[in-house]
């Protein structure tokens, strides 16, 4: 298992490097950040300033030199290069924001998984009942909702609810209060209060696709011969459902959820924008709007790493779920 993990991690490195190359190339095709940065300045800055700025950002080199310098910097020093704004340090900025975003993503994924497995299993077990139809309808509805729409809806709903009961139960702006309350317990509550609505909006979007998938996988399993055998042996329905059926039905689900991680990162960007969190999402939007190439690349590398790690965890989970799979 350990050797397999190491081998998988090593195999993931070329993928990550290839991904950075593609992204670096695509982003460099689009627009010159320095021209954009100085555009519309009156009087226009002297050529020397422009040249110095290009040199600082390593833009005065050829494309391949730029890329390999960037890669070498990342591998040897672990830095993402200078940001467009000289006062910003990309590494420390991302480091501070990573926790905020991961908090959102992980809790949303856990919530979505729990919801999806429960509704998926029940939908399959009670196929074509009212529960199944209701769950299917809501699944399709959430699947069709843009993330920002559901986030904005929950935000408006939360504000209305707060006004109705006269206290502030849901926080709708930021990831913590500007002035954190005293005591660690109150601070914890403050963080949780800020997290409820964003987590819910990200989880609902994610849950929709997963529950459909879980239902299909579960239906496949429930109609198989070994489940009929388990029933015929006289096992309790609950035991058949949880021990025999669910375990097998979780295997395709693991693949599906691992493939969605990249999408969830995108969804987190939207959710953070709506709820005005100071997370990685805000960082990405700012970098993209200012055409800050190094910052955008840094975001993508961090997100890509997490996607790869997520896929690896999924692969290792296969072995837990399916005893036939052994990683040597």
């Amino acid at each position: 298992m350990f050797a397999y993990t190491i081998r998988r991690l090593l195999a993931a490195i070329p993928i990550l490097i290839a991904a950075t190359f593609i992204v670096f190339w695509l982003v460099s095709l689009t627009v010159d950040p320095v021209t954009e940065e100085f555009a519309g300045l009156n009087p226009p800055p002297p050529q020397q300033t422009i040249d110095l700025e290009r040199h600082r950002l390593n833009l005065d080199q050829g494309f391949f030199v730029q890329y390999f310098d960037w890669l070498r910097n990342l591998v040897t020093h672990g830095t993402f290069g200078p940001a467009l704004n000289p006062a910003t340090d990309i590494n420390s900025e991302l480091y501070h924001r990573l926790g905020v975003t991961m908090r959102l993503i992980v809790s949303a994924m856990v919530l979505a998984l729990v919801l999806a497995i429960i509704t998926g299993v029940l939908s399959a077990y009670r196929q074509y009942t009212r529960f199944d139809y209701t769950a299917t309808f809501f699944g399709f509805l959430f699947l069709a909702m843009p993330t920002f729409w559901i986030a904005q809806l929950l935000k408006t709903g939360g504000i209305t609810f707060n006004e109705a009961i006269g206290t502030r139960l849901f926080f709708t702006i930021g990831e913590t209060s500007d002035i954190p309350p005293d005591g660690w317990w109150n601070q914890f509550l403050d963080v949780v209060g800020h997290m409820i609505l964003p987590t819910l909006s990200l989880a609902l979007i994610t849950y929709a696709a997963w529950s459909r998938f879980q239902r299909a996988a579960m239906l496949d399993v429930l109609n198989s011969d070994y489940i009929r055998l388990a029933r015929a042996k006289g096992l309790k329905p609950r035991q058949v459902l949880v021990k025999h059926a669910l375990r097998t039905a979780l295997i395709p689900m693991t693949t599906a959820s691992a493939l969605t991680i990249a999408t969830i990162f995108g969804g987190a960007v939207i959710t953070e924008t709506v709820f005005q969190w100071q997370g990685m999402g805000k960082f990405l939007v700012q970098s993209v709007l200012t055409h800050d190439r190094n910052a955008t690349m840094a975001w993508l590398v961090v997100a890509g790493t997490f996607v790869i790690v997520g896929n690896l965890i999924a692969d290792l989970l296969y072995a837990v779920l399916d005893p036939r799979i052994r990683y040597g």
Binding site: P14, I15, L16, A18, A19, I22, V23, L26, V27, L29, T30, V31, F140, L141, L143, A144, M145, P146, T147, F148, W149, Q152, T156, A216, L219, D220, L222, N223, L259, A262, T263, F265, G266, G267, V269, I270, T273, L284, V285, S287, V288, L289, H291, T296, W299, L300, A303, G304, V307, I308
Partner: protein
């Protein structure tokens, strides 16, 4: 088959009520496509969705030519809630919101369809070739897919879209050229089981080239999976485009899209709710109907999973 009876009333093979059902087998042979159609028609939500979706497409592409305002007109009273004259209200400048929503739908659907065509056109042959060749080529080609799947599509599309200028062409190209990996994986999966079958072997034995086998033998047999995924690709593209426009890096003014409209309306969602909800509901309607159609198509092409009773 009522139409058979109507067209050929004189045929003696029509079973008369007196004849027992276990007599000669008289029903006309059903081709695969007829079966698919019949199974699709049984999925009520999908059929309703298909009609709603066709209505939305017609509304988006024909509606603007018939409607009295164009999306650039600013002749309406500013900031008015929905009235008979402006059924979706107006914004502060005096744009008719209905005309703008129609334009937004048109642009969103255009993006959806072009992304679907691009993603299918690249992904399906790619997956088929990869699965058919197998071995090291397959591994390498799938690594390319893995690479694309590692990159969050929204983020990279945002990065490129903001640099290249947000026109509908750029957005469609970026989403289509980066979003075909899922299609490729699905087609490859089906191809892997197809390539061991005799008809592929026979084609090989007769000296058919790989490309011939791909387009002539493999892809026609994967068409069900391709159509289902292509349908869902439209919905995904519409949603991603709206998210891009929402972040301000999608389709730029003076043109508009459903996502851009909702983004503009977001600050005043409490006071001018019609500006936010009208385009949003249209996004949901488009994506919802497409997903239902996709679901119906999946049932129609793969009946294994639907009508099973325990």
């Amino acid at each position: 088959m009522a139409d058979t009876a109507a067209r050929t009333p004189a045929t003696p093979t029509i079973p008369s009520p007196r004849r027992p059902a276990d007599g000669e087998f008289t029903i006309r042979e059903r081709s695969q496509w007829v079966q698919v159609l019949r199974r699709f028609l049984r999925h009520r939500a999908a059929v309703v969705s298909l009609f709603v979706f066709i209505f939305l497409v017609v509304l988006a592409f024909v509606g603007p030519t018939l409607w009295k305002y164009s999306y650039t007109d600013i002749s309406s009273p500013g900031g008015s809630p929905p009235t008979l004259n402006n059924p979706f209200g107006t914004d502060n400048i005096g744009h008719d919101n209905f005309a703008r929503v129609l334009r937004g739908m048109q642009q969103s659907l255009k993006v959806g369809f072009s992304v679907m065509i691009l993603a299918t056109g690249i992904g399906a042959p790619y997956g088929a070739i990869s699965g058919l060749l197998g071995g090291r080529v397959d591994t390498l080609m799938m690594r390319v897919c893995d690479t694309l799947l590692v990159i969050p599509l929204l983020a990279i599309a945002a990065a490129i879209g903001s640099g290249a200028g947000g026109t509908i062409v750029v957005v469609s190209l970026v989403l289509g050229l980066l979003g075909w990996a899922v299609m490729a994986r699905i087609v490859r999966g089906v191809t892997l089981s197809l390539r061991e079958q005799e008809f592929i072997e026979a084609a090989r034995a007769m000296g058919a080239s790989t490309l011939w086998i791909v387009f002539r033998h493999v892809l026609p047999n994967v068409v069900g999976a391709i159509i289902v995924q292509a349908t869902l690709d439209i919905a995904v593209a519409v949603l991603v485009e709206s998210a891009l426009s929402f972040l301000g890096v999608g389709i730029q003014p003076p043109d508009t899209s459903l996502g851009a409209l909702t983004n503009l309306a977001r600050p005043s969602v409490d006071t001018q709710w019609w500006l936010f909800y009208a385009p949003g509901v249209m996004i949901i309607l488009i994506a919802l109907t497409i997903n239902f159609i996709g679901d119906g198509l999946r049932d129609a092409f793969d009946p294994r999973q639907t009508r099973q009773r325990r």
